[in-house]
């Protein structure tokens, strides 16, 4: 099976030194790869390179069969419409309303106005923020902004969604809401996702729970109906350290690591 996203020996550095150093990993269709790592290990840079927002100095980045690392900016602009990007702080346009933020891509693509409204409402209903449609970002809480950002990313139903620390700086309850949304997006639309985080519990939640469409609730994998695997093999972990993949493995492998560095994430 061909990988949806693949990084091969990617290097990227700035004046202060090389941040990403021989980074290689692959994400397969409908899979969620959780990129774990401390601050400054290159998680955000990896996501930005996957979306073509930054160019590696060496190595190859291939997404959806296209070599993103070599595409000119004009081709990238068109290509990025197939990717949803949820930024760390939401990155909503603060001069636009929630409705205008979510509808931004549709208006850029000149979708008919009478088609835009139901699609925006549907996306906002998905993140349970339909009532906030006329508010501006400054009137929203941190968690609401991330939810609007998720709605904005999913409005065109992209096959790939990149999440940059979606729960950073949020209280545990709001963080759970965001993770539940990511689960829902994964299990409803089957998106391939790359999720950067420094919280292992986010990754475990993604691996051990699923969204049950029948009951409209997030349930543990053990409650899945017969015939389905108990643990979700669609979630894998990659721990970044010093700009490269230090560990890559499944949920069980991650939960039973012996390495003292990795064990710190489990505390």
């Amino acid at each position: 099976m061909d990988a949806t996203i693949s990084f091969r020996d990617v290097r990227l550095g700035f004046e202060e030194g090389e941040i990403v150093h021989e980074l290689s990993f692959e994400v397969y269709p409908r899979e969620t790869l959780v990129l774990l790592g401390e601050t400054g290990t290159g998680k955000t840079l990896s996501l930005k390179m996957a979306a073509g927002l930054m160019r590696p100095q060496q190595g190859e980045v291939e997404v959806l069969g296209r070599r993103v690392s070599e595409m000119p900016e004009k081709a990238l602009l068109a290509f990025r419409r197939e990717i949803g990007f949820v930024f760390q702080e939401g990155a909503l346009f603060d001069s636009l309303t929630v409705e205008e933020n979510v509808a931004y891509r549709l208006r850029e693509e000149h979708v008919a106005e009478d088609e835009i409204e139901p699609r925006v409402r549907e996306a906002l209903r998905f993140v349970e923020l339909e009532h906030a449609i006329d508010l501006v970002p400054s009137e929203l809480s941190g968690g609401m902004r991330r939810r609007v950002s998720i709605a904005r990313a999913l409005i065109t139903r992209p096959p790939i969604v990149l999440y940059d620390s979606p729960t950073a700086g949020l209280d545990p309850v709001t963080a759970q809401t965001i993770i539940a949304l990511i689960l829902r997006l994964r299990d409803t639309y089957g998106v391939t996702a790359l999720l950067a985080t420094h919280r292992l519990q986010d990754g475990f939640a993604l691996a051990n729970f699923y969204f049950d469409a029948a009951t409209n609730r997030v349930l543990p994998n053990s409650k899945r109906s017969a015939g389905k695997v108990e643990t979700d093999s669609n979630t894998r972990f990659a721990v970044l350290r010093d700009g490269k993949v230090f560990f890559e493995g499944t949920t069980e492998e991650m939960a039973t690591v012996k390495d003292p560095y990795l064990k710190r994430f489990l505390v």
Partner: protein, 294 residues
């Protein structure tokens, strides 16, 4: 015993995410850079910035000739830059005109030629003070506004979000601002020139006891087509400078919100200096062209 505890502490972090487990880098002997290397480095950086600015300025113009166009954004900017700057431009224009009359009249009085005041004020306003002062006022108000707005968008990742959604920021953010400024600054200059003459007329009537008709007749007779063209040409160039510098400084902010403040100040300072320097060369060019063509 004490040494053992210290060694232990180096390997145990307070939080699971704090320690890197990294060995400290081996100490290197850092050679101090020579003055020649420092100067060369600064010169290279300056050339790089000029190159980046030139590319952005050229791109902002090139975008006009291909799709997509952001007409609504351009109109919004025209409203914000043009209509928003109108009160201060008119107010200062009026008083500059009045002050010019008072200053020039104090010299003309010595030769008993106060009637020439209208000529002097009209020429000075239309050729020089109108475009320069209007552009400097718009710089203070809008180059800073553009730099801080784009800078804030950059540090809050809104510019990246725009790129991530398939929009070219130079088309969506830069070109509408440059086009709007280039369209409205000549209009503002024209209004400032007129209001300046009205201010001059008021000062002439009340302070020099000149007649209204006499002032306006002399002012209008003194002006030639080349004078108006010179003023318009200057205001178009100044508008291009202030808008592109504002956009460039905004989109190259480094260092968070503090960097936004620094870039905003730099945008105003650099635009103002460039406008005054460009003014000298444009005046020379305009006078040369006026002799050749008109």
């Amino acid at each position: 015993m004490r040494r053992e505890i210290v060694a232990e502490q180096e390997h145990v972090a307070d939080t699971p995410l704090q320690g890197t487990g990294k060995e400290p880098p081996p100490s290197e002997v850092v050679r101090e850079a020579s003055i020649y290397e420092i100067l060369l480095g600064s010169a290279k950086e300056a050339v790089l910035r000029v190159q980046e600015y030139s590319y952005l300025a050229a791109q902002s113009v090139a975008n006009i000739f291909s799709r997509p166009h952001y007409v609504q954004d351009t109109l919004d900017q025209m409203d914000s830059i043009g209509v928003g700057s109108l009160p201060i431009v008119l107010l200062t224009g009026f008083f500059i005109g009045a002050v010019m009359v008072l200053q020039t009249a104090s010299q003309f009085v010595r030769f008993g030629q106060t009637s020439l005041t209208g000529d002097a004020v009209a020429l000075a306003l239309v050729r020089e003070l109108g475009p320069t002062l209007t552009s400097l006022l718009v710089t203070g108000r809008c180059a800073s506004g553009i730099a801080s707005e784009l800078g804030s968008m950059l540090v809050t990742e809104q510019v990246d979000a725009m790129r991530a959604m398939g929009t070219d920021p130079s088309r969506k953010l830069v070109t509408p601002r440059v086009v709007a400024t280039v369209l409205v600054v000549p209009l503002l200059t024209t209004m400032s020139d007129f209001i300046g003459l009205v201010g001059g007329c008021v000062a002439a009537v009340f302070s020099l006891r000149l007649g209204v008709v006499q002032f306006w007749t002399r002012a209008i007779d003194a002006l030639e087509f080349s004078d108006i063209m010179q003023g318009m040409m200057k205001s178009i160039v100044f508008a291009f400078i202030l808008s592109t510098v504002g956009c460039y400084k905004g989109l190259t902010v480094r260092g968070g919100t503090q960097g936004v403040g620094r870039s905003t100040t730099q945008a105003v300072v650099i635009s103002s200096v460039l406008i005054i320097v460009a003014d000298t060369f444009l005046t020379k060019l305009a006078l040369y062209l006026a002799n050749k063509i008109f």
